[in-house]
Amino acid sequence: MNNKERKELAMWAVEFAKQKGASEVAASINNSRSVEIEVREQKIEKIKESTTNGLSLNIYRDHKYSGHSTNNLNKKDLEKFITEAVEATKYLTADEFRELPDPSLYPADLNRDLKIEDKSYNSVAPEQRVQIAKEIEQVARSKSDKIISATGGFSDDYSESVLVHSNGLIAERASTSFWAGGEVTVRDGDARPEGYHWGGSRHFKTMPTPEELGSKAAENAIRKMGQTKIASGKYDMLIENRTAGRLLYMFVRPMSARALQQKSSYLDGMLGQEIASPVLTVIDDPLMEGGFASRLYDGQGIAARQRTMIEKGVLKEYYVDNYYGKKLGMTPNGGSTSNIRFDLGTRGFDAIVKDINKGIFVTSFNGGNSNSTTGDFSFGVSGFLVEGGKIIKPVNEMNISGNAKEFWKQLAELGNDPYQYSSILSPTLVFKDIDFSGL
């Protein structure tokens, strides 16, 4: 099935559901082809190739709402599926806010090229993928004789989808992504610390090199050798750019309209107020070319636009989806995050670390969570002790704890080094006086 046929099937599904009693319908059909390869000791350990299909339907029947999905796109089976789905919806409680988005929110320009599809996807040969994975392993393994295990990996996918809304949206998109990386374990007495590094791109030809991926994977494991727990106390905290993105999730849930409406957001009522240090500006940018979360419209068909979420520490916007937006009387602007960018600082990690007298450079989180209702958080961390501007030794098995309300005000500096291999393009971050638990 190609996108044209998918579009026809989605339009048929919408019409069929309406015939069966739905007032409004959204239908999307997706197809994704993917390959995953793992290489160990220069042999293919695992290879998986697959194609998956799916149809999702959102049904609004007199303001009663339900959602359904199936991977069986046989039309005869779909007739039964849709009939039952529409039928089931009538048992639910009507809710005046359950309806499709207003068509004025749909994208006006569906032809803009966000450069997220590699048109030469099909010309990437299976042998090329295996070769890259093998090179990554080889590079990694060459870095130390302490390495017990190294694997190289490659994965990619090609996704196509169509979205049809009964009130006037017909949209389609296609995207590709390629990822490769390595995972390395080293012997360190009784322990066997592991490190990994993965990098990717929307386009095959702009992928990071096996040399970069293999070296970093090995370095990330080797640098952990001799790691120990150190004394509890307040330390300045530097966070490596590839790890820092995780902290942003502390904002994402409390910034959602659902959390506001459900009274589970510590950011309720904070619009226009300072919620972070003035050095922090966070931009949600779905229209970035080649971004891992770039899109012209979101899952609800709402047109994507660039939004400044936090400007110089002040909360400027929430993530408002269609349903909760209507419930709160707020204009829906898209309920989910896309690419996250920051206003960058002027210095890189090497310059920043020189000014740290007593700190911990966090390179990895291990578990932990945050509470969107209260802002409380606690995360496991590992990284390095920094004293007098120098990295002294690796540390592990420690926690950081605090409350987001104060924590983000302790942000002192952002680096100029955004991480490329994620939809959260975080630079190095520096926080002052963070509570670390260790010995």
Partner: protein, 514 residues
């Protein structure tokens, strides 16, 4: 978009299994071949009919899979139906359903795996997937068809009525009752969210050694999240019941406990404090605290890691790792518990596997590949998220057996420490052995007594160190009530865990520095 692959393994609470849940008023088959029969009493013949295949077709697909010289081939047919109904703002105003149907085809060459799947069960589509998987080998071979045998399987999760026969309007009152109870219990409650989800999975497995098995796997979960407000301060917490259960499990008593626990765990947070940062004695309450075992030892004992020597437990079999009263098992046979399986996803028998017996490391958790590598019998831990995934060693229900101490004497033995009661998630780094779990609620222990509540702290320890530091084990083993989902290499599987009251002499607790 594919997220960056993160190979760390985790466990989280309250996850909705697969995609949502079925809302449909009638049987929803999702395939023309449709279930002629449903429920737990189907024979192999019924399953073949259900998937619209014959033994001859399966033999042909296996032959295709082995045509390039592979050693072994298996087929995993699965049809799953999930339903989810949600209550919010006092109304049951949302429902979701998901149907997933297909066959996974795996070919092994030594310990190398080729995998593909097909969402169509036509002979041509399946043969094409088999050819893709076959490419892990690169010679050629012709195989003779094998005759299939189907051993009699145990039955650890019979339920009274298949979920497909329970209509949406029969489920709705359960959500309303929970909601009503939650609001009636405490005037500080301002929001309540209730979810009911069920999933039914039909699995037919066949391999090139002539083994054919089938299994009917029900799952249900009823969850409630509560937000309460007092003097402008808001707190939220959660409770759920989950297991391979039928609707008969959700008795008025169960509904009552669900609502009561959720409210109790929420309002206690108003007075919660943070403990002192650093290493403290930690007492784990009986029940879901088994998360300690899942993270501290369970993942590290999965034999795929050990085969590659990447686990901190790689050379510990036969060694003394804990006090004599510490016995830790991973068990697939507990009736109706969430992680139980009648047969694993590679057709192997399930069992109760001893990880640690009397303080000594006893066995890894094996799938087919690792059992072959070590020359041992598979332990029935070969599991997968769905037909779209290849199996690997996974936990089932992981728990510690009862010990010689009493709960009260354990708490009394602590001068200043933490009593951890409910959890949201955990994680482990297999090689370093560092594991964590996040405490949603519990108490401080001061001078041998539970005093002020605590909330939102992460606990971090090292697997082998914490095992050695288990000082006391009580006689009150309890299994977790809730729906835990374990994630590994991007695959989620339902698991459970349990623990008697246990004291660990010291672990690093997230907290504040004076």
């Amino acid at each position: 978009m594919k997220a960056i692959i993160n190979r760390r393994d985790f466990l989280k609470a309250g996850a909705v299994t697969a995609v949502g849940a079925a809302v449909l008023p009638h049987v929803l088959s999702g395939c023309t071949t449709g279930p002629a029969k449903i429920g737990g009493n189907m024979t192999i013949h019924d399953y073949l009919e259900h998937f619209g295949v014959t033994e001859q077709m399966i033999q042909q697909i296996i032959a295709e899979g082995l045509s390039k010289g592979g050693d072994y081939c298996d087929l995993f047919f699965q049809h799953s139906i999930g339903n989810y109904i949600g209550l919010e703002d006092n109304a049951v105003n949302r429902a979701y359903s998901d149907i997933s149907f297909g066959v996974g085809i795996r070919v092994l060459k030594g310990d190398q795996t080729g995998y593909s799947f097909s969402e169509e069960v036509s002979l041509n589509a399946m043969k094409s997937a088999a050819r893709t998987a076959a490419n892990i080998a690169n010679s050629s071979a012709t195989v003779e068809p094998v005759a299939f045998e189907s051993p009699k399987l145990p039955s650890y999760y019979m339920i009274k009525t298949p979920w497909e026969e329970i209509s949406i309007n029969e489920k709705i009152p359960y959500l309303q009752q929970v909601n009503d109870k939650v609001f009636a219990m405490d005037s500080r409650v301002i929001k309540s969210n209730v979810w009911f989800n069920d999933e039914t999975s039909y699995v037919l497995f066949a391999n090139s050694e002539g083994l054919m098995t089938c299994d009917y796997q029900p799952m249900a979960q009823l969850s409630v999240s509560v937000t309460a407000e007092q003097n402008g301060q808001k707190e939220q917490n959660y409770f759920d019941y989950s297991g391979r259960r039928g609707i008969e499990f959700f008795t008025p008593e169960a509904i009552n406990t669900l609502a009561t626990e959720a409210v109790k765990r929420t309002v206690s947070l108003f007075d919660a404090v943070k403990p002192k940062a650093g290493e403290l004695p930690v007492v784990l309450a009986a029940g879901s605290s088994g998360i300690l075992l899942h993270e501290a030892i369970g993942h590290g004992m999965e034999a795929d890691f050990n085969r590659k020597e990447t686990s901190i437990f790689s050379d510990k079999i036969g060694k003394k790792v804990a006090n004599d009263f510490v016995t830790i098992v991973d068990d697939g046979t507990n009736p109706n518990i969430r992680g139980s399986i009648n047969v694993d996803d590679e057709g192997n028998n399930t069992e109760k596997t001893y990880l640690v017996a009397g303080g000594t490391m006893e066995s890894y958790l094996h799938d087919r590949i690792s059992a072959q590598h070590y020359g041992v019998k598979p332990t029935g831990n070969g599991r997968r998220e769905s037909f779209r995934h290849m199996p690997m060693p996974r936990m089932r229900n992981t728990y510690m057996e009862n010990g010689p101490h009493k709960k009260d004497e354990i708490i009394e033995s602590v001068k200043y420490g933490v009593y951890a009661e409910s959890f949201s998630n955990g994680q482990v780094m297999i090689g370093a052995g560092d594991f964590t779990f996040y405490v949603k609620s519990g108490y401080l222990i001061e001078d041998g007594k539970l005093t002020r509540p605590i909330k939102d702290i992460n606990i971090i320890g090292n697997g082998p160190k914490v095992l050695a530091d288990i000082e006391m084990v009580a006689d009150d083993l309890k299994m977790a009530e809730g729906g835990w989902t374990c994630g590994k290499n991007g695959q989620g599987v339902p698991v459970s865990q349990g623990l008697p009251t246990v004291k660990v002499s010291k672990i690093t607790v997230g907290g504040v520095n004076a």
